[in-house]
């Protein structure tokens, strides 16, 4: 399923400046794997031992995946996946 992944400023050095990536996948985990395949240095930056690092937030169409099934959260057709640093606010 084609999905748009929004890349935050902090990670654009690793995507050659790309702010949006088009990949396919049926879960958040698959989508991220596809992103890592295209830009291998991203894996280490946002994951650790197979899990998201603790200050990385991922949203599917605006909804935090921790309120859903985490990396197993299913992706609907045309969904937008947003990666953001979890260090704002308060």
């Amino acid at each position: 399923m084609p999905v748009t992944v929004k890349i935050p400023t902090q990670l654009r050095a690793a995507t050659g400046g790309e702010a949006e990536l088009e990949v396919t996948g049926s879960t958040v985990g698959e989508v991220l794997d596809a992103v890592f395949e295209a830009h291998s240095t991203l894996r280490e930056r946002i994951t650790q031992d197979g899990d998201l690092r603790r200050f990385v937030n991922v949203y599917v169409s605006g909804e935090d995946i921790r309120f859903q099934d985490g990396l197993a959260t299913p992706i609907e057709d045309g969904a937008e996946v947003t990666i953001l640093p979890a260090v704002a606010g308060g």
Binding site: Q10, F67, G89
Partner: protein, 410 residues
């Protein structure tokens, strides 16, 4: 000059002193690093004592080369002995209340915003913005007005009316977002990428957060250059809680005070308690929650500094507790009746947790305890509605005597 760079709290990567907030290598939060090795404690103390009656007396510990201009300087709020509150709680302790409602916009947020707005001006921004649960909105709108900057303030649309009114009056662009604080925060993190604005708690967050250290400095100075044994402090994002700890640590490190870190007790509302839950469960991350509490100023379901707050409570052998909305209302009354301080719901959370600690027997005899009251009761009037009855009488003596007949006889 002591300010060095921005440093990632997770992996230690360093960055220049610009508008950055997250590490490019691991997404960890960035924090301002200082070099205090050249500080002489006696000279530093004299300089502080000769300074202004507000937060800028501590400008050597804030992220600037010199003291910035500030038309609305916050800080140096009262630290009051609360013997009657201690007695009501059955405490044989030296109890103090730091009333940080006594700031220009009536909450501790004036401290962080004063620092962020000064940094925004230094970095050349002409517009400041924030994601807020209310108190920050008041502070950003006011400090932007005082500095002559444009401002955009984003809040959950269902905020208390008092907080909306006390924001809009300053002529800001007030944006009510249909969602909770965490939705507002996500939106602002996205906006910070495209708008050339200084979001005080997004891209300027490393500087903004430094303002909270002044609460620790003031506490120590007002106690006669001594540290408390224990502090009770509310937790929303966890930034205030951890920065008060950092402030005490800096002064311990350079020898301005002696002893050790106080015990840190954190306070949350049951209806939004991701940090208290992580503490209780022994987690090193906070599982986000959807807030449902009258303590809206603490209603952050996804707290950015939650993991660090948990670590600090553990390291100091403290705790993070939570109280119900009913306990919050009762605690607002308790503080008002025993100290004359009318606090908003966040203060009710803090005093409610103090009561819990007292009931549990956690507070030892003779301990010096400081409770942080971070906001003003007039901002959350609904929390006190129907908590007492007014005596309504006709304007004559008989009416008064008959209303108070029993008391007069007694």
């Amino acid at each position: 000059m002591s300010i060095q760079n921005l440093k990632c709290k997770e992996c230690g990567s360093t960055y220049d002193l610009g508008a950055h907030f997250a590490c490019e290598n691991c997404f960890g939060p960035l924090e301002v690093a200082y070099d205090y090795s050249a500080f002489d404690p006696a000279a530093t103390k004299r300089k502080i004592q000769a300074g202004s009656q507000g937060i800028w007396r501590y400008s050597d510990f804030l992220p600037f080369e010199g003291r910035p201009g500030d038309p609305l300087e916050p800080g140096f709020t009262p630290l009051l002995r609360a013997d009657r509150l201690a007695a009501r709680l059955g405490l044989d302790a030296e109890l103090w209340v730091k009333n940080d409602a006594a700031n220009p916009t009536h909450s501790f947020k004036d401290r962080v915003v004063a620092v962020a707005v000064a940094k925004a001006q230094e970095l050349g921004f002409d517009t400041v913005a924030c994601a807020s649960t209310g108190n920050l909105a008041n502070a950003v709108a006011a400090h932007a007005a005082a500095a002559g900057l444009r401002s955009y303030v984003f809040v959950p649309a269902n905020l208390e009316e008092q907080k909306l009114l006390a924001t809009g009056v300053y002529g800001t662009n007030l944006v009510g977002v249909r969602g909770n604080y965490d939705d507002v925060n996500r939106l602002c993190t996205q906006l910070a990428e495209t708008r050339p604005w200084a979001f005080v708690n997004v891209n300027l967050r490393p500087y903004y957060a430094e303002g909270s250290k002044t609460l620790a400095y003031e506490t120590a100075e007002q106690l006669g250059w001594k540290l408390p044994d224990r502090v009770v402090c509310p937790i929303a994002s966890g930034s205030l809680f951890t920065k008060v700890g950092r402030g005490f640590q800096e002064w311990l490190d350079i020898g301005l005070v002696e002893g050790e870190q106080p015990i840190f007790n954190g306070a949350q509302a049951v209806g939004c308690s991701p940090v208290a839950t992580a503490f209780a469960e022994g987690w090193d991350v906070c599982k986000p929650q959807r807030p449902d509490t009258i303590a809206k100023s603490l209603a952050i379901g996804d707290p950015a500094d939650g993991p660090y707050a948990v670590e600090q409570a553990r390291r100091t052998e403290g705790s993070i507790d939570s109280v119900t909305d009913e306990e919050i209302r009762d605690a607002i009354r308790l503080l008002a009746e025993t100290t004359g301080i009318f606090t908003e719901t966040a203060g009710g959370v803090t005093v409610g947790v103090l009561r819990k600690l007292a009931e549990r027997g956690d507070i030892g005899a003779g301990e010096r305890v400081v409770v942080y009251i971070t906001g003003e009761g007039l901002k959350t009037l609904d929390a006190t509605r129907d908590s007492f009855q007014m005596h309504e009488i006709d304007p004559d003596l008989e009416s008064f005597e008959s209303e108070f007949a029993q008391e007069v006889i007694a």
